[in-house]
Amino acid sequence: MEFMPEFRVLRPASVEDAVAARRDDPDACLLAGGTDLVPNIRRGIVAPRTIVDVSEVAEMRDIRERDGEVRIGASVTLAELIEHPIIRQRFSVLVQAASEVAASSHRQVATVGGNLCLDTRCVYYNQSEWWRRSNDYCFKHQGEICHVAPKTVACFAAYSGDLAPAFIVLDGAVEVAGPDGNRVMPLPEMYRDDGRDHLRLGPGEMVVAVRVPAADSWHCGYVKARVRSAIDFPLAGVAAAVKLQAGSLAGLRVALTGTNAMPLLLQGTEDLVGAPLDDDAIDRLVALIPKQIQPMTSTVTPPGYRRRVVANMTRTLLRRLSAEARR
């Protein structure tokens, strides 16, 4: 038998029961597809006494449309998201981003909520117990140093979800349920730039669904760089949404992943509204990136490469969307 710590698994049938189950044990972990949590348990970086399995909670399992807005349950799998007719027809950026997550077998069980709440990752963190022990652990778990930036007191583990930037450029919001009731918040507000604690969710709170407004007049896309295109997490990923009116930009949103401890909505894009979407505008957009991102040595690929690749991917994606919008 492989080593697994002791825990009990609860299987609530409703969101209410899931929230109640976590009220009894604030450190309880949520489980859906398990593609992030179970490897982390195996590596000893998470050791829950209670696991709350929300993969079968009916309210979190479907995709619904009302007045153009689409609500996607947090326990919808990536394969279901990719195959869903409404998503394929109207939110192709979500299909692009979800199709780039890990490999086909992972996507059969990995969920939308799981990808949005993905733990941050670092080459010094996602390692076996003996590897981390031999390196004196780190801030993110058990240790008192950041090996990536030893002079700082911050943790630079990178957020590596592919769906978050796509949902952010779609102006998505998350439905959150917790012991003090339910709330809806714009997706960027769910994150903070701290690798140790990157989710602004209160004790016992959980993501129940994502809401996306109609995006029919926008052209959106997602591109990603990774070491092995078959399976890896992003070294960096870029999502963009563009709206053109009479050849000029009427709206522009760009979001990045893999560069910080949170997915970033690029600031300053509103200054480009009104300008034609040409190479000059794209240059101005790309110039906004360097000061807002902070890739560190948290992957095997150097930060300088990730800076260059983000700029180049943004340029390529915007040219593609510009051509699409003019067609």
Binding site: M1, P5, T35, V38, R42, S104, S105, Q108
Partner: protein, 156 residues
Amino acid sequence: MAKAILTLTLNGRPREDAVSHNVLLIDYLREIAHLTGTKMGCDGGECGACTVLVDDRPRLSCITLAHSVAGKRVETIEGGARDGRLSQLQRAFHERLGSQCGYCTPGMIMAAEGLLRRTPKPSTEEIRQGLSGNICRCTGYTKIIEAVRVAAGDAT
């Protein structure tokens, strides 16, 4: 130790076992059900060697809790052959030399079986995508893809 009865259908037969909450599906299959055809490779959901089918979809048994498949249909490589006859896919892997050292083969065949159930006539690109989470360290991918094409009736 939290323990519960796990009820499922394994290779077409209903089963019930008392299983601890923290047992992985691969350990249930290999050490409780004694089906050792499913292989442990990377031990972290990265190589695909442990792939089985759960309700017709590929699933990595080394990162799945056994109780997560309660009430579902689980199929392993042992479920392929009937009365001593290999399945079409197994025969294609055998005849087209899709198996070299053989360690990735059970996972490769189960992932391919899942693909063919969703997409009976896959393009080469769809086969590559469907098997992208399965690593062959002998690097025999060309023959593996050919075997899947042959099993799908694309006999070139």
